[in-house]
Amino acid sequence: MSDSGEKKTMREGAQQSAVDDKSNFGHLIDAIPAIVWITDPSGDCTYLNQNWYEFTGQQEHEALGYGWLDATHPEDKQMSADIFLAANAARKSFRIIYRLKRQDGQYRWCADTGRPKFNATGEYEGMIGTVVDIHEERMAAEKLRNTSAHLQLATSASNAGTWELDVKTQTLTWSEYHKKMWGYDPAMQNLVYEDWHRVIFPEDRDEAFNRVAQALQTREQYEAVYRIKRANDGVVRWMKSLGRYDYAANGDPLILTGITIDITEERNAIESIRQKEQKFRLLAENLPQIVWVSDFFGNHEYRSSRWVEYFGSDDLETGWISRCHPQDRDRAESEWNRGKDEQRSFQFEVRIKDLHDTYRWHRSVAEPITDDQGKVVKWVGAFIDIHDMKTLEDQLNTLVAKRTFELARSNEDLQQFAHVASHDLKEPVRKVKTFVDRLLHDFKDELPEKAVSYLDRIDRASNRMQAMINGVLDFARIDSSRIENERIDFEDLLSKIKEDLELLIVESKAHFTYRDLLPLTGTPILIYQLFYNLISNSLKFVTPEVTPVINITTERIPYSPASDSSGGKSFIRITLNDNGIGFPAGHSEEIFKTFVRLHSRDRYEGTGLGLALCRKIVDRHGGTIRAEGVEGKGAKFIIDLPE
């Protein structure tokens, strides 16, 4: 667009002419509700009516020539100039849609239309045209376009196809998507009713067809769910069709319009839930327990048939609480409410009455069922009949109590018996011994050697019997003796024992080693008996030709909080070592049992009660005794007595 002097002159001429025009038509042109413009053959704008200046706020000197382009949107400016210049050069009509800046700064969509002007001789005089504000229309159209785009998006995203059935011609108009749903080529034309119908599953076909007829009859919405077998690949899909008839003024149906949605996924989900539920029911019905399912509030939705069998009623309104034993009802109800409130699994035991009004113990269990968000939506629970178990348990408890009592009594009886029996048994044994002794004493010389030997054996047997009776007597006695906490000088006690065992000690030339022994605490008679037994064992169980050596030591074991077994007491540990025959390593517990003999009677005498007695004495004092031995190398006894 040159700004040559020649052009300028021409423009001035045109302007003059426009002014002339204006004087004639100016008021008329300004009254037109549109912007009017005039350009000369070179394309320069020579006139713009008042509406332009009011609209754009431009001044005359700014707008004329090509200044008007400055009012267009920067993005539209080049395009607008190009179209205008091309039309001007070709002297042809044009139409440009561009955004024009209004005085207030807002860009408005406008339609600029121009056409060539020729004089009477056919000479080109330039263009004349109008600019119209089409902003609102344009916006509305835009919106409409967006909406339909959205709708399209929505229908395709929801697997929906749209369709129309012309009732008279029975021709179908389908959306492309609908054709694809049916397995047809999207480009397929001239669809007829049969094209819809034949893809439908034979079993569902009549029903779908009937629905169409029914909707026509009742003038209601058409709705059908059916399966199709896709035309191209035979895949079965579930479809749901919805539609509505449009009627002519005379009431005749014209068109059935609607959509079809693929609901296969939903159907499958429902089907899988249904199958799961069926499985659950199958399971629940076959369980020996009464199974129920309730909603969040505890209203039963399902009860297994065992419920009916037990309660005699299937009425879902009938609560189990009213069937509870009066003594259990409040507790059961509060347990149930608490579990429900806290939304956790719970259980309780309750007596419930059956249809014959017989109460049976049940364990009621309930488990919350939560949704994806962990919110409790349902409860599933059961009543488990534990009546027999419970009854048995009660019976067992009673029985145990009874047996315990009987046992305590028989234990007492046994002690009494042991005491009496052994006391009475001592009498005849002593007599046997006495007369054997007297026989030997008075008639030894007159008796044959064999008779003397027999008498010896009788004597030895009665000795053993006597020792055993004494042992039993002592054993029985320990339980009834009261434990005292007397301070016992251990060395004094040992001296006394040594005195009493003098004969044995002298015979065996036994040697004792001990010094600075700590005092003990206990019942003197029993502690005496304890060490008497241990020492006499050490003297008895010796290897022939070996001089017995008995070593005794004491040490204080202070209370240690770490060793819980001490019971908060400190102990005196007494260790007794001998060099006797010992015992096999595996027998260190065995030897404390009553009447357990590790050695044959002929070789070593013993009643089999001595160590059992020792353990009992130590037990009664709240202490412990254990043995360590190496066969043939001696025994070691470790006794811990409470200080």
């Binding site: 006391h423 002593r430 011994k433 006495t434 002794d437 007297r438 004493h441 008679i525």
Partner: protein, 137 residues
């Protein structure tokens, strides 16, 4: 006719075998001592009054008046107050030994079954009687 014996021992025991054994050993150990056997405590209490024995041996389990009752009554009587009284029983129970001491018996002897042991016991006791000429054992 048996010569007049200077000392007297009474044994109260309902067991004849034991009494016979006792008598036999005693006769052997101290023939000069007169032995009297009674079968229960009641007879013993009665005879103690008349015979004024030097030593008394009491079995515990006896009919009518048992050893313990007998011991108690003797210790409470004038005649038995200072009399050597020995409990002579099958029992070897510490409890009996304790009771015996508590009631004032002079000793507790568990009936031996061997002549040797009984001889020893009776020798010791009779020796004291003879040596002490009736003084308390």
């Amino acid at each position: 006719m048996e010569p007049q014996k200077k000392y007297t021992i009474i044994l109260a025991d309902d067991d004849f075998d034991d009494a016979e054994f006792f008598e036999s050993v005693l006769a052997d150990v101290a023939p000069q001592i007169k032995f009297v056997h009674v079968e229960d405590g009641r007879d013993l209490l009665r005879l103690t009054q008349t015979l004024a024995p030097d030593v008394v041996f009491l079995d515990i389990n006896m009919p009518r008046v048992d050893g313990w009752q007998c011991l108690k009554q003797l210790r409470e009587s004038e005649a038995g107050e200072r009399l050597p009284i020995f409990m002579y029983s099958t029992s070897s129970h510490a409890r009996d030994q304790q009771l015996s001491a508590d009631l004032g018996a002079s000793g507790f002897i568990t009936k031996p079954s061997e002549i040797k042991v009984l001889r020893q016991v009776l020798t010791d006791i009779t020796k004291k009687i003879i040596d002490g000429d009736g003084a308390a054992v």
